[in-house]
């Protein structure tokens, strides 16, 4: 899941300052789960902006709110075409993808980001999320006992642990577990310690051509069909 956090209110206020009619657009998938831009957060932000307006009186806006199931699919965006026709800007509480999808679908309209998209992660407990994947496109979790050194080691080293590990913690952050120690302990449990002995050559990050595209449908040559 993509994890994000809502931007501070004053940043959002500055962003929308020049637009009178603003649609606050929530996203019903990842942003809902990570408490950044679901229906509740949309409504909360809406209320907060209205309080700012009525108490401090800076700027007169008219807000609408709507939460789509997902902003990253163009079909969902069709649902708000009529609404968007009446507004001066869309404040998207979707992740960075959502903001861009809105911008792409409605080219004539400013699409403003309401959240800071942070990472891909998992839930630790209610209201706490941890980063787990860097989307490097070359997964080696098989060799590292299901623990990703790219995201969980602060240095992202592929052959650890480094000399900076002390009492199982990282030298960069005393509260953070050393990812490579975790890898070692888990490999020991799995009786696969020999994987530690292997040497992983340095990754060539230049091989990732951005932006990436994945095509899962298979192209079929129409001429090859059997009658």
């Amino acid at each position: 899941m993509i994890v994000a956090e809502q931007k501070p209110l004053d940043e959002i206020s500055r962003m929308i300052a020049s637009y009178e009619r603003v649609l606050i657009l929530g996203c019903g998938t990842c942003m809902t789960v990570c408490d950044a831009g679901g229906e509740r957060e949309v409504s909360f932000l809406h209320n907060a902006l209205r309080v700012a307006q009525s108490k401090i009186g800076n700027g007169i806006h008219i807000f609408w709110e709507y939460t789509l199931k997902r902003q990253c699919d163009p079909e969902f965006l069709e649902l708000i075409v009529e609404r968007v026709a009446e507004v001066d800007a869309v404040l998207s509480l979707g992740c960075g993808i959502g903001v861009q999808a809105v911008a792409e679908r409605f080219p004539e309209l400013p699409s403003l980001p309401g959240v800071n998209t942070s990472f891909m992660g998992m839930t630790r407990e209610t209201g706490v999320w941890d980063e787990r994947c860097a989307a490097c496109g070359d997964c080696r979790l098989e060799d590292t006992a299901g623990i990703c050194p790219i995201t969980r080691c602060i240095k992202g080293i592929l052959n650890g642990p480094c000399a900076g590990t002390k009492n199982g913690k990282c030298e960069a952050n005393k509260d953070m577990d050393c990812a490579w120690l975790l890898v070692y302990e888990r490999l020991e449990k799995l009786a696969q310690l020999e994987r530690m002995r292997r040497y992983y050559p340095p990754r060539n990050f230049r091989t990732i051509p951005r932006p990436r595209r994945i095509i899962s449908k298979t192209s079929v040559d129409p001429g090859e069909e059997y009658g």
Binding site: L9, G38, A48
Partner: protein, 707 residues
């Protein structure tokens, strides 16, 4: 100001709005168990909120004679109460009595207009007859009640002793019926139904009760000094004062036996002994009645039955035999078996038999009789074999309870209405589902234990002297606290539409009762039979898809805030302070209840089901509509739920952070949780109001300076 009023929210599809407005609560077990299907959960909840008059309205709408039920109902609702699985059932009957006494039931007038010409005769004026008359009058029929005795009430009058049901209560209800225009003919035994048809009645309801005591069929039963329970009670209740002598025996274990025993005690018997042929477990009398009788000094001897009575020298020599319990019969009760050679003799002055009663239907009625000389009827329509003749109450069921008779009377009234209007019987179907199932042990463990408080009763030495009512009524505080014990079964949270649920599992993680679960299809389910309706998940759900099942609970806060906006926010005399307070406890009915609805200038209270249901948006909305300060006040240790305050503290903190960003002082938002307050809550509130007043003044001055 205009922009404040238009609070445009998400535009939902029409079907969602409809679902949002509908009542999705389930019928609780107490309501299902009640023969009258009274809305018990609703009126108990209103008592808990201290809304006694509203509570009385709900009670009156479901029961023609609630004052009678408040004294003598056998409360099947309490037997079905799910609170019993936690500690003890809610004292529903006593709460009804409280609502009637404190809500001013005596002042309520019933009215009816005649809109039909078909006259209906009601034979017998017991609870079934009175209820039937009440409803037929409401439907607009001219009704006549024929009563053989000199006063109305049937068993209520001649069977139930005064110390359990004061006669003023029956008199008040009868007067109400008279005012509604019911014609009453006392001292008029009906012997023939043909005559009634001849003089113009179009339909007849027979409710003659079961006044004929069953006989023991033993030697000497006819001796002077032996009397049956029904006759004994009837004589006393119609004003006679028979003397039971010094030593008195009562045969039987039902309510009549206990009524007779306690009455004999009040008439001056020094020693009253109940002889029952089975053991305590099988005894059909209500447990309170047994308890009170024992306190008053009635002695109960189990597993004993009389076999012979002989009158000698003005006293009765009763030969008894001891019993042992044999195999259970078809009804599940163990059959008593006499023990050979265990006979013994006892001397008594009086012997009262109370082993059961049966109806005595005059042959002239021409209705078909069934088992135990009860009148045979069609169960759904109460129609007898004669057209236009209906029957109900004890005459049909054999001796039963007041509330069952009232239900029969109500059913008869609507069926007689159908009959007279030549309608196919209309069956009103309950559209809501009934709640079934027990609480899971995990849920029970998390529900806070609060002991049941019984209403006060007269001291046993006081009450055995005369016929004053034994049970007293709750005081205000005890009643509201007792009513708060209700678990509000069937009103809990639901996921309004699964397709909007993001399956984030927040509800599952935060539920204090561990109720929501993930089913095999990866869908979150909130089982309604376990949900305790605290509303924590409703306020936390990031998709805002969880709602409470009762529409009133859902819309309450928004509506109250709109109300404040329209009435209070316009006045600028005092800074407006909005408080979200638990509708129960300290702020609902306790010492701070005086703050209710602007009673104190500037302070407006929004009552909430539980502070855990107050959403962060609500706090902001209150500020937006013009509040200078907002507080949330919960009950802390006095709360019926565990640890709800921590959730509202988190939300308050979240809003405070936003306030700082907006440029407002975070002190404008306060949480009060009683029990954790070191000072008097009223004092804490005063300080807060003063502080907000200061902030308001400062902000006004800043505005002046700016301009």
């Amino acid at each position: 100001m205009d922009s404040l009023l238009t609070d445009i929210r998400q535009n939902y599809p029409a079907n969602r709005t409809q679902r949002f407005l509908a009542d999705h609560s389930l019928v609780p077990t107490c309501q299902t168990a009640c023969p009258l299907h009274m809305e018990i959960r609703e009126y108990v909840d209103l008592v808990a909120q201290g809304k006694i008059v509203e509570s009385l309205q709900v009670i009156r709408s479901g029961n023609p004679f609630p004052s009678i039920c408040a004294y003598v109902c056998t409360h099947p609702c309490e037997d079905a109460c799910r609170r019993d699985q936690v500690d003890k059932p809610v004292a529903i009957r006593a709460l009804k009595r409280f609502a009637l006494e404190f809500g001013g039931d005596r002042l309520i007038q019933a009215e009816a207009e005649t809109s039909h010409i078909e006259k209906v005769a009601i034979v017998g004026s017991g609870p079934a007859g009175l209820a039937c008359a009440y409803y037929l009058r409401k439907f607009g029929y001219p009704v006549t009640i024929f009563e053989a005795h000199s006063e109305l009430g049937g068993m209520l009058r001649v069977g139930i002793p005064q110390y359990r049901l004061p006669r003023e209560v029956i008199d008040t209800e009868v007067q109400r019926l008279t005012r509604m225009g019911v014609e009453i003919r006392t001292n008029t035994p009906v012997v023939s139904l043909d005559l009634l048809f001849d003089i113009g009645y179009k339909a007849i309801f027979i409710t003659i009760g079961a006044h004929q005591s069953l006989r023991m069929r033993i030697d000497g039963e006819e001796s002077p000094g032996v009397i049956d329970g029904a006759t004994f009670l009837r004589e006393i209740n119609l004003g006679l004062r028979p003397s039971p002598g010094e030593r008195c025996a009562v045969i039987g274990g039902g309510n009549v036996a206990f009524d007779a025993a306690r009455t004999a005690l009040r008439l001056g018997a020094r020693e009253v002994r109940i002889l029952y042929r089975r053991s305590r477990v099988e005894m059909p009398a209500g447990p309170e009645e047994v308890e009170q009788a024992l306190e008053e000094g009635v002695e109960i001897v189990f597993l004993v039955a009389p076999i012979k009575i002989k009158r000698e020298k003005g006293r009765l020599s009763v030969t008894c035999i001891r019993m042992e319990l044999g195999d259970p019969d078809a009804g599940g009760r163990c059959q008593p078996v006499p023990i050979e050679g265990s006979e013994f003799n006892e001397e008594f002055d009086t012997l009262i038999t109370a082993i059961g009663q049966a109806p005595q239907t005059p042959g002239g009625f021409g209705v078909r009789l069934g088992r135990g000389s009860t009148i045979q009827v069609e169960p759904g329509t109460l129609a007898t074999n004669r057209p236009g003749v209906f029957a109900g109450g004890d005459a049909v069921t054999g001796p039963a309870t007041v509330v069952e008779a009232l239900a029969a009377g109500r059913l008869a009234a609507s069926r007689i209405d159908d009959y007279l209007q030549h309608r196919y019987p209309l069956v009103v179907k309950e559209t809501r589902e009934s709640l079934t199932g027990d609480l899971l042990p995990e849920t029970v463990e998390m529900v806070r234990r609060i002991g049941r408080v019984e209403p006060p009763i007269l001291a046993s030495e006081e009450r055995s002297k005369d016929f004053e009512p034994v049970e007293l009524v709750y005081d205000w505080e005890t009643a509201t606290n007792e009513a708060r014990r209700c678990l509000r079964c069937g009103t809990g949270a639901e996921i309004l539409s699964q397709d909007r649920c993001a399956t984030c599992l927040t509800c599952l993680r935060i539920c204090p009762y561990h109720v929501p679960y993930l089913d095999a299809g990866s869908t979150v389910q909130i089982p309604i039979d376990q949900c305790q309706a605290c509303g924590t998940c409703v306020a936390e759900c990031p998709a805002k898809v969880i709602v409470l099942r009762k529409p009133h609970d859902r819309r309450r806060v928004t509506e109250e805030l709109e109300h404040i906006l329209k009435t209070a926010a316009g006045s600028k005399l005092k800074p407006l302070i909005v408080g979200f307070c638990c509708q129960y406890g300290l702020f609902g009915t306790g010492t701070l209840a005086s703050l209710w609805r602007g009673a104190r200038a500037g302070v407006w209270i929004v009552p909430v089901l539980c502070v855990a249901t107050v959403e962060a948006e609500h706090l902001l909305r209150a500020l937006e509509i013009g509040a200078e300060g907002v507080f949330v006040a919960g009950c802390g240790d006095g709360c019926a739920r565990e640890n709800t305050a921590s959730w509202i503290r988190q939300r308050v903190e979240k809003v405070r952070k936003i306030l700082v960003q907006i440029g407002l002082q975070p002190e404008r938002l306060q949480t009060f949780v009683s029990g954790t307050l070191s000072e008097d809550p009223a004092q804490g509130m005063d300080n807060f109001i003063e502080q907000v007043g200061g902030l308001y003044l400062a902000s006004v001055m800043m505005q002046e300076v700016k301009s």
